[in-house]
Amino acid sequence: MSKQIHVPTVAELVAKGEKADVLFWVGCAGSFDERAQKITKAFVKILDNVGVNYAILGAEESCTGDPAKRAGNEFLFQMQAMANIATLNAYEITKIVTTCPHCFNTIKNEYPSLGGTYEVIHHTQLLQELIDEGKLTFGADPFKGKKITYHDSCYLGRANGVYDAPRRILEAMDAELVEMKRCRKNGLCCGAGGAQMFKDAEKGNKEINIERTEEAIETGASIISANCPFCTTMMGDGIKHANKEGEVEVLDLAELVAQAKDL
C-alpha cells in the first residue's frame, strides 16, 4: 500500500530506448475528476502488481473528442482525433487499454477511418485476460457470498457488445452477482452519455441516474459495480440522493480487483 509506484510515460520510455507493450489511455475523467482518479490509481496498482509493461501519454494525452462529437460538433471532434492520432502514430502505438468506455469506443471505432488503427481494449477485458492467463489471482474468496450487482455502461455494452468480461471478473472474485432487471442488451443508461454529463438534463419528472440507482438498490446488493467513470459518478450521486451512503457503494471493477488484492 505504501509502495511508491512510478507511472512511466511513453516519452520517458522512448528516451531510454524502451517500448511499452500497451498504452494506458487514462481519459479526461480518469485524469482530472477526483472520483475517477481513484479508478485510474486502482488500475495502475493492478498493472504494476501484475507486472504489465505499460505507459501513459501524460500531458501529451488529449480529449478523444467523444463529447464534442456526441454534442454534434464533428469539426472539433475531428480536430481532437487527428491531433491524438498524430501523437499515437508518432510513438508507433499498437495496443491501447482504457478505463473509459467512451474513449474505448471512440478510439476503437471512430479513429480508424481517420488514420488511427490500434488494438483497443477496455480495462475489464484486460483484467479478464490477466485472470484467464493466471497472472491475476486472488487469495481465498475475497468477495465470497457478497452480493454485487453490475451496471452495463451503454458504450461498453450495447455500443460494443462487451457483456461477459466484467461479469467474469466478478465471478473470479467469488462475488454473488445479482442482476438488475434491465441488464446486458437491455441495460438502462446512467444518464451521462451523449455529452449529457456536461449539461443539465432536459425537463422531465425524474433524473435518469436516480431511476437506474433505484433499480440497482432493489437488487439488495451492497456494491454496485461499474466500468465507466461517468456511470460511477452518476450512480454515486444516485446513492446520495437515496440516502444509502454507507449501505451501498459504487465501485469500478478495477477498484474491486484492487480491493480484493489489498493493493
Binding site: D33, K41, A59, E61, Q78, M82, C154, G204, E211
Partner: protein, 434 residues
C-alpha cells in the same frame, strides 16, 4: 352470369393492383428523397440479418407475449395467403377450389389454415385487449393520439373480419359440398368452420350459394382493400421489415460515422498534404430536412409500425422527458409524405421551405443520451438515433444552437484538451499521489 362474375373479379383485381403499385411508387420516390448511402457491403451478413430478424422474428420474442401473438399473425398472414392465391385463380377462371387436385395435402392445408385463422382471430383480440383494456403505457403516449391509434385499431379489426369471412365461407362451402351442389366439389377439411355450419344447414342450395358468394367476395374484396390500405398505414412494415433489416447497420452500434467533408476541412488546416484541394466545401452539415438524411432512415420511418418498444426503453422518455424515438420515426415519415405531396403538386425540384425541425424540437434532440436502447429494442432494426444525431449536428454546426454548458465544454476541449477547465499540463498530476 358466371363470366360476368369472372370479368368483374378481373377488373376489381386490376384496379386494386394498379392503385397499390401507384402508391408504392410514390413511397419509393419519397424514400429516395434521402441521400445516397453505401450500404450493400458484406452481403452474406446482410442476408443472415434479414433471415434472423425479419423472417425469424428474433427480436420480437424479447417480449414474449406480444412476440408469440405476433408470430401467430405473421405465420397466419404468410400461409393464409397461399389460400388467397387459390381464391385469385378461382376468381379469374371461374373454378372452385382449383388447388384441390392436391388431395390429402390440400385437405390438410385447408384444415391448418382454419386453425391459423382462429388463432389469428384470438391474437387480434389479445392485441386489442392489450391496447384498450390492459392499457399498456407505450400505446398511450402523446404521439399515439388520433390517427396512430385509429390506424392500429382498424388493422386489427380488418384482420378479424377477414378471418371470420374466411371461416364463414368455408362453413357454407362444406354445407354445399354435403348437399352435393354442382360445382362445389368435396375438398378440404374444416376443423374450425365445422362448428359454424349450424346456421346454414336449413337453407336451400340456391340461398346457400348466395351466402357462399357473398363471403367469398367479402373476403377477397377485404384483402384487396387491405392491400391498398397498408401503404397508407403503419402496417407497411409487413413488406419493409425485410429490406429494412437487410440494409441495417453492421458496424458496432457505438460507431458514429465521421463526416468526410469535415475530414477534408480539418486536413486543410492541420496537414494540407493530406487534403483534397478540389473537394468542394460542404454545403450543409447534419440534417435539416428528410432530404439530408440517408435514404435508409426514411425507409426506416416507412417501416415503423409504431409498436413503441423504442420509446418504452428510452431512458429520457422513461424519466418524463419529451423525447420519444417512435415520434422521431413518425415525424420523419409524415415529413417525407408532406414533401412528397408538395413535389407532386409543384414539380420534382420544388421544396416547400419547411423542415424536419418544424416537427422535432431541440428539447427532444437534446434529451438523447445516445445510449442505443431504442436501436436495440426495435424488432426490425430501425435506427432513430441516427436521425436524432444528424439533426443535433445540424443545430450545433449550422445554427450554433446548443446549451451554454455545451459551448463551454467545447471551448474547454479546444483550449484545455479536456471538457473541463483544467490545465493540460496537470493531466498526469495523479501519478504523484500513488
Amino acid at each position: 352470369m358466371q363470366y360476368l362474375e369472372q370479368l368483374l373479379f378481373i377488373i376489381v383485381l386490376g384496379v386494386a393492383i394498379y392503385f397499390f403499385v401507384q402508391k408504392i411508387k410514390k413511397i419509393r420516390r419519397n424514400i429516395f428523397l434521402g441521400k445516397e448511402e453505401k450500404v450493400s457491403d458484406n452481403k452474406p451478413e446482410r442476408w443472415k440479418t434479414m433471415a434472423r430478424v425479419a423472417l425469424g422474428q428474433s427480436k420480437m420474442v424479447v417480449r414474449p407475449v406480444a412476440g408469440i401473438m405476433h408470430i401467430i399473425i405473421y405465420i397466419g398472414f404468410v400461409l393464409i395467403n397461399i389460400e388467397v392465391l387459390e381464391i385469385m385463380i378461382d376468381g379469374v377462371f371461374g373454378t372452385h377450389r382449383a388447388l384441390s387436385f392436391l388431395g390429402p395435402v390440400y385437405d390438410a392445408a385447408i384444415g391448418f389454415f382454419e386453425i391459423l385463422a382462429a388463432l389469428v382471430f384470438i391474437a387480434c383480440v389479445v392485441f386489442l385487449g392489450r391496447r384498450f383494456i390492459a392499457k399498456i403505457p407505450r400505446f398511450h403516449s402523446p404521439e399515439m393520439k388520433g390517427w396512430a391509434t385509429a390506424d392500429a385499431t382498424y388493422i386489427l379489426v380488418i384482420e378479424m373480419i377477414l378471418m371470420v369471412a374466411l371461416l364463414k365461407m368455408n362453413a357454407v362451402d362444406q354445407v354445399l359440398q354435403a348437399k352435393g351442389a354442382d360445382h362445389y366439389i368435396a375438398a378440404g377439411s374444416f376443423p374450425v368452420s365445422h362448428f359454424l355450419t349450424g346456421f346454414f344447414t336449413n337453407f336451400e342450395i340456391p340461398t346457400l350459394i348466395v351466402f357462399e358468394r357473398v363471403f367469398w367476395w367479402f373476403h377477397i374484396l377485404g384483402i384487396l382493400f387491405f392491400l391498398n390500405y397498408v401503404p397508407y398505414s403503419k402496417h407497411l412494415h409487413i413488406f419493409l421489415a425485410f429490406p429494412n433489416t437487410w440494409y441495417s447497420r453492421l458496424q458496432p452500434a457505438g460507431e458514429f460515422a465521421n463526416m468526410p467533408e469535415i475530414t477534408n476541412e480539418v486536413n486543410l488546416m492541420l496537414d494540407p498534404s493530406k487534403a483534397d484541394p478540389d473537394m468542394p466545401p460542404p454545403e450543409k452539415f447534419g440534417a435539416n430536412d428528410v432530404t439530408d438524411l440517408g435514404w435508409t432512415s426514411i425507409m426506416g420511418a416507412y417501416a415503423c409500425t409504431e409498436c413503441g418498444r423504442c420509446t418504452s426503453s428510452c431512458p429520457a422518455n422513461i424519466t418524463g422527458k419529451k423525447l420519444s424515438p417512435r415520434k422521431v420515426m413518425m415525424d420523419t415519415r409524415d415529413r417525407a409524405e408532406e414533401l412528397g405531396k408538395a413535389k407532386d403538386e409543384h414539380g420534382a425540384d420544388y421544396h416547400d421551405g419547411k423542415s424536419l425541425h418544424d416537427l422535432i424540437s431541440q428539447e427532444e434532440l437534446l434529451a438523447c443520451t445516445t445510449c442505443n436502447a431504442c436501436v436495440e429494442a426495435c424488432p426490425i432494426n430501425i435506427n432513430p438515433l441516427e436521425i436524432i444525431y444528424q439533426m443535433r449536428q445540424y443545430q450545433t454546426l449550422e445554427k450554433s444552437v446548443m446549451p451554454t454548458e455545451w459551448a463551454m465544454m467545447n471551448s474547454n476541449i479546444e483550449n484545455n484538451q479536456a471538457p473541463w477547465q483544467f490545465s493540460p499540463s496537470d493531466r498526469a498530476n495523479w501519478t504523484k499521489e500513488i
